[in-house]
């Protein structure tokens, strides 16, 4: 039996104390919204990747590839002529550029006649008479999706110039596909003949898709030519999703952060509304409301608030998510390839997490306050001071619990073996523990401050803080979490930025770099150019590089065959095996990048197997070098060895060192060569700038999310302060009656608030640095395999303190104004 009047009393309380009800609701709304938004952005990016990958993969179960290269036409032609051949579809694709268009687009060439069993959506776009004829016979015939056509501003019949390896080709739009799912946003769909022509892949295929059952797989395996590899669709999918792993990890960390801050906000809001109503609960208890009834009333009230807050939060989250998703899409487009997120992907997982946070976290956060409320003695026989006393007694207990969680977190992240998930679990535990410790730390800091504070009103402010620890503790903890996360992520990004910068500056120590036009699409230098450069007068030394990607243990490892001039060698930061590394290198051992060494557990002296046409090539590891170029890993080997294994491959890059340091003279000489060769001449500085710009773009979304979490924390502090100051209205009225001026009251409130911000920041700094440490040592290491020197930026730390103070200061404005302007008389009269 539950009394509706009781519930009405509770809900009317929320209505009556609109600010408080609103802030409690805001806590839930924001928590839900931020978590949902980040999750939506995350799944939006993932869905874009998956759609593209899936569309290209179609119903294929396997794929024939030539590791590190392209597949000769003959492999496919010969197989498809044999009786009993399973369904096969040849594919030629590559990335092309379009002038004035950021990012690259995937040009995919198919043979429609082979596509039937594979990519029915793709083949299905050809629903016009005459289509087949034009598609097959008209060079450059192009099909693309409606949204991409709109973005590129092309219509059927119009032409589009694409750039590949410095060569331009003209495509003509044959058909704009308007069906919902047919053509992904980044796809330029052409006949395989057109693709071969544009991508300069005469006689070569990117791969052949297959649909195989066990028998057919055996059939294929018996007929596989040397060097050709049969991969499963699963292996393929992993390759594609890996591309975005770094980016996604970034977002996941942010989502977790939002979840944590959201939970604190809800907890904060609910605790407040409970503490404030002790009087009311006392009266109810006196007239015969049982503990259980009170408990249920509070929970029901929280549930209503939670449902309402969650609903609004979901709406806000979807709206916010659209913005974030656009931002993510923009970043992905610039860094990887074009995705335009036209529709938001509302996946059930994201929604469930957000709803769980809104409803469950609110209820869980209410349990403790509700339990306290239910235990309210009839009438308020316990004074506020007794209540605060109880809260103070709980502080060390929470603190101990917090220390334990913090230690568990560190153990999970740094001591126990495990993957990235484990690292994140550790990080979560660490932050939660730190938050629980916060009141205890505040107490300690406070005892120092209390002695130092000047007498009078300031000392009063300091004392108040300790007195109101039961309510302020949580608000400070919420602010602390937001600030420390900001510090943690900030320090990590800064450390990484610094490391990447140092690494690149060291590595790119040549004066000029020469590559073929379209090098980013794999264009290579012609041998004649290499000879010409070698003859130049002003060139003192040359390093030569050629590369290919090889699958090693499910990773796409870049293998680089290099002739390294002495200064180039000095650019390598060798982490182990330094002493005799170069001698070993010259004798056929290889340099392995740190991520690859970490994932394969390689150390100098170990051996590594590289797949080649003639079976695995076993090489010895000379040294491990610091590298952030690829999370998949890179292997450097001497040019001579590379030539022996993969003969006749043109060079990708030349690094030139100027004679007598006269870079300009050398540049003039090299530039003359550019007239007859399609080459790009770049200085190390330009590459460095471009690389750092890419780095900053990757982390732009991190910045946005940091600000978002600070806004959430700010609202948390605001709600805490408001509730507190409003509750203390009578106290202020008494002080006013005793003769404090309005200014002094406002000052008292602002001072307390700023003190709170300062304390939160003080706790946040070490916690944030600890977080950064875990992020670098555990998360980054386990996810990517690289390490980096830990660099704490003083400016960032100062910023954090300022942001904390600013948030607290802003949060104090309204309560200060209101309390100072309130007429003391009615408050004094009220009981």
């Amino acid at each position: 039996m539950f009394s509706p009047l009781l519930l009405r009393a509770g809900l009317r309380y929320m209505l009556r104390h609109r600010w408080q009800g609103l802030l409690a609701l805001t806590g839930i709304v924001l928590g839900v919204a931020v978590v949902l938004a980040v999750d939506l952005a995350n799944s939006g990016a993932r869905a874009a990747f998956e759609l593209s990958a899936q569309q290209l993969q179609g119903k294929a179960t396997h794929r024939l590839v030539m590791p590190g290269g392209t597949l000769p036409d003959e492999v496919y032609v010969a197989l498809q002529r044999q009786s009993g051949a399973p369904p096969m579809a040849p594919v030629v694709n590559g990335w092309v550029e379009i002038e004035g268009w950021p990012g690259r687009l995937r040009l995919a060439g198919f043979d429609l006649f082979a596509e039937g069993p594979f990519r029915s959506e793709l083949a299905g776009v050809s629903s016009q008479v005459g289509f087949t004829t034009d598609w097959l016979t008209q060079p450059g015939a192009l099909v693309l999706g409606e949204s991409l056509a709109r973005a590129l501003d092309v219509a059927e019949g119009e032409s589009l110039d694409v750039l590949y390896r410095g060569k331009s080709a003209t495509l003509t739009v044959l058909h704009v596909d308007s069906s919902a799912s047919a053509v992904a946003d980044d796809l330029l769909l052409v006949d395989i003949a057109t693709a071969k022509s544009v991508l300069q892949m005469e006689g070569e295929l990117s791969y052949v898709d297959l649909i195989l059952d066990a028998d057919a797989e055996a059939w294929i395996r018996q007929r596989l030519p040397a060097g050709v590899e049969l991969q499963t669709a699963l292996e393929q999918a992993q390759g594609v999703t890996r591309l975005s792993a770094a980016f996604e990890l970034n977002l996941t960390a942010m989502s977790l952060l939002a979840l944590l801050v959201g939970m604190f906000l809800v907890f904060n809001a609910m605790t407040f509304s409970m503490v404030q109503r002790r009087n009311l609960f006392g009266r109810l208890r006196a007239i015969g409301v049982t503990s259980r009834e009170l408990f249920r009333m509070v929970l029901l009230e929280a549930l209503i608030l939670a449902v309402l807050g969650t609903l609004i939060g979901l709406l806000l989250g979807v709206w916010l998510g659209q913005g974030l998703t656009r931002l993510v899409a923009a970043t992905v487009s610039e860094l990887y390839y074009n995705v335009s997120v036209t529709a938001l992907v509302l996946d059930t997982g994201s929604l469930l997490i957000a709803i769980a946070l809104g409803v469950l976290a609110t209820l869980i956060a209410t349990l403790v306050p509700a339990w306290h409320a239910a235990r309210t003695p009839p009438l308020t026989t316990l004074s506020r001071s007794a209540l605060e006393q109880a809260a103070r007694h709980a502080v060390p207990l929470w603190g101990l619990f917090g220390v334990a969680l913090l230690l568990i977190g560190l153990t999970l992240a740094l001591v126990l073996p495990g993957g990235v998930i484990m690292s994140f679990a550790g990080l979560f535990s660490l932050v939660l523990g730190a938050a629980m410790m916060t009141p205890m730390v505040i107490r300690l800091l406070h005892s120092l401050l209390a002695r130092a504070a000047p007498p009078g009103i300031w000392r009063m402010g300091v004392r108040d803080l300790d007195r109101h620890l039961s309510r302020l503790g949580i608000a400070v903890a919420a602010l602390m979490v937001a600030l420390s996360a900001s510090v943690g992520v900030g320090v990590m990004v800064e450390s990484m930025r610094g490391s990447v910068n140092t690494w690149l500056s060291d590595l790119l120590n040549a004066d000029l770099y020469v590559a073929a036009e379209g090098f980013d699409q794999g264009a290579q230098l012609t041998p004649s150019l290499v000879e010409d450069v070698a003859r130049l007068q002003r060139v003192d030394a040359i390093s030569r590089y050629r590369e290919r990607k090889l699958p090693i243990d499910g990773r796409r490892v870049e293998v680089i065959g290099a002739h390294l001039a002495e200064p180039s060698r000095q650019g390598f930061a060798l982490l182990s095996g330094a002493s005799s590394a170069w001698q070993a290198f010259d004798e056929g051992a290889v340099l392995v990048s740190e991520p690859l060494a970490w994932h394969l557990g390689l150390a100098p002296g170990d051996t590594l197997e590289l797949p080649t046409v003639d079976g695995p090539l076993v090489v010895k590891v000379a040294a491990v070098f610091r590298d952030y170029a690829s999370e998949h890993g890179r292997v450097f080997m001497d040019e001579k060895l590379y030539e022996r294994v993969w003969p006749g491959q043109p060079l990708n890059t030349l690094a030139l060192f100027a004679r007598d340091g006269d870079v300009e003279a050398m540049r003039r000489e090299v530039s003359e060569l550019a007239a007859e060769h399609a080459i790009v001449i770049t200085s190390a500085g330009a590459i460095l700038r471009e690389s750092m710009a890419v780095f900053d773009r990757t982390f732009r979304i991190t910045e946005v999310l940091r600000i978002l979490s600070l806004i959430v924390a700010f609202i948390g502090v605001l709600s805490a302060l408001m509730a507190l100051q409003l509750e203390r209205g009578k106290e202020y009225a008494v002080l006013r009656a005793l003769g404090l001026t309005r200014g002094q009251i406002a000052g008292l409130i602002s001072g307390e608030s700023l003190l709170m911000g300062l304390l939160a920041a003080c706790v946040a700094l070490p916690v944030g640095i600890l977080m950064a440490w875990v992020l670098i040592e555990s998360v980054q290491r386990r996810a990517f395999g690289w390490t980096m020197p830990f660099g704490v930026d003083g400016v960032l730390l100062m910023q954090t303190v300022l942001v904390g103070l600013l948030a607290a200061g802003l949060a104090a404005l309204y309560p200060a104004w209101r309390s100072a302007h309130a007429d003391p008389a009615p408050q004094l009269r009220e009981d």
């Binding site: 036409d73 032609v77 498809q80 002529r81 044999q82 009786s83 009993g84 051949a85 043979d111 429609l112 006649f113 596509e115 039937g116 029915s120 083949a123 299905g124 050809s126 629903s127 016009q128 008479v129 289509f131 087949t132 004829t133 097959l136 016979t137 008209q138 060079p139 450059g140 006949d191 395989i192 003949a193 057109t194 071969k196 022509s197 005469e202 006689g203």
Partner: protein
């Protein structure tokens, strides 16, 4: 013979409409298919205006100046223990555009090949069929005259000599053929006017058409894991043209009958939209010694006797009475198996038949233009 002439255009369009998309073609698209059927090929293609001097083995190979061409093989086979099979392998060449393709890539071609393969296991009451497409580039599909070869992926015909003995290889998922066709005693038959077969009154709406009407055949038929050694007789039609169906023609019924007395009868009835026999329907009776009697509509009387209904409701006349009073022929032609439906991009019925009545024999029957619309 008309088979495939416009059918090919229709098949290509329809394949893209139905086979690739999961949805049936929208009504508007169907109308366009209809238009495509009546449409004339690019005027730059060569046309058959008058009889030509055939030259072999060159003419066994492709004629890319013409829009369409086919190598059409059917036959009745029997295993050593008397199990009966019918088979069909059709390889079509279609010129999408006249002349050489723009050579931007080795994979570019103006020529496309389509293949239909079918085996009727009469005793088991089963009919197996498959369809393939391929471009005539990069070795995916093509034809040469010396040595003779036509291929489309794993399906193909080839000869180490000029044409015979002819090896046929065609395997698909679950069934296949591996046959050798010998020249036999019968000479090549030039259809129509010395090999020029007119399809309508419009000049140039004609094809070059010759046949081998009785080719002793041996080899293997495989169905599932079973392999049957077989022998029997095959029939080859070779035809190329750049013509199209006239607007008043709805479809055709084509008979290729090998009589036990050593004669063969071929007759195609072009049906008007009203279901009447069109004036340009033609046929030929090949004597034991290779002598021919041309058959015109006035000489032949065709009566459908029984219909078999496909799953989609289309009724196919699978039993006929074929009368040529002038030659004292009164034949009953019955499908050896009712369901020999070729249900691919375009639906038609093609299968082995038994001949009885005034003369006994076996043969092949093709019924087209019955399913929805044209």
């Amino acid at each position: 013979m008309l088979r495939g002439c416009s059918l090919l255009m229709l098949l290509l369009s329809a394949w893209l409409l139905t086979a690739c998309g999961q949805e049936p073609p929208p009504p508007a698209a169907t109308i366009r298919v209809d238009e495509a059927m009546g449409g004339t090929p690019d005027p730059d293609f060569a046309r058959a205006f008058e009889p030509r001097a055939f030259s072999f083995p060159g003419d066994h190979g492709p004629h890319p100046d013409f829009a369409t061409e086919w190598w059409y093989l059917t036959g009745n086979l029997e295993s050593d223990d008397g199990r009966r099979f019918g088979y069909q392998l059709t390889l079509f060449r279609v010129g999408l555009r006249p002349g050489e393709a723009v050579q931007d890539s080795d994979w570019r071609s103006n020529q496309v090949y389509m293949g239909h393969l079918a085996v009727s296991d009469i005793a088991a009451g089963k009919h197996y069929s498959a369809e393939r497409f391929g471009r005539a580039a990069a070795g995916l599909a093509g034809a040469t005259s010396r040595p003779f070869e036509v291929w489309l992926g794993p399906w193909g015909l080839h000869s180490d000599g000029d044409f015979f003995p002819l090896e046929l290889e065609a395997q698909d998922d679950g069934f296949g053929l591996s046959l050798q066709l010998l020249a036999g005693d019968k000479p090549m038959v030039l259809q129509g006017e010395r090999g020029l077969s007119r399809k309508s009154a419009t000049p140039g709406n004609a094809s070059y058409y010759y046949s081998f009407t009785r080719l002793p055949t041996t080899g293997e038929v495989s169905i599932g894991d079973a392999i049957y050694r077989v022998q029997g007789n095959s029939w080859i039609d070779r035809e190329w043209s750049s013509s199209a169906l006239d607007t008043d023609q709805a479809g055709w019924d084509w008979f290729a009958l090998q009589l036990e007395d050593g004669r063969e009868l071929m007759f195609y009835q072009l049906r008007t939209r009203e279901g009447e026999m069109h004036a340009f329907s033609r046929g030929v009776l090949v004597e034991r010694d290779g002598g021919v009697h041309e058959l015109s509509p006035e000489q032949v009387k065709l009566t459908p006797l029984r219909y078999w209904q496909a799953d989609d409701g289309t009724a196919y006349p699978v039993e006929w009475r074929l009368q040529v009073p002038g030659l004292e022929l009164d034949l009953s032609v019955q499908a050896s198996l009712d369901d020999q439906l070729m249900d691919h991009t375009v639906q038609y019925w093609e299968g082995a038949v038994d001949v009885s009545g005034s003369h006994a024999g076996r043969g092949y029957l093709e019924l087209s233009g019955y399913a929805g619309g044209p």
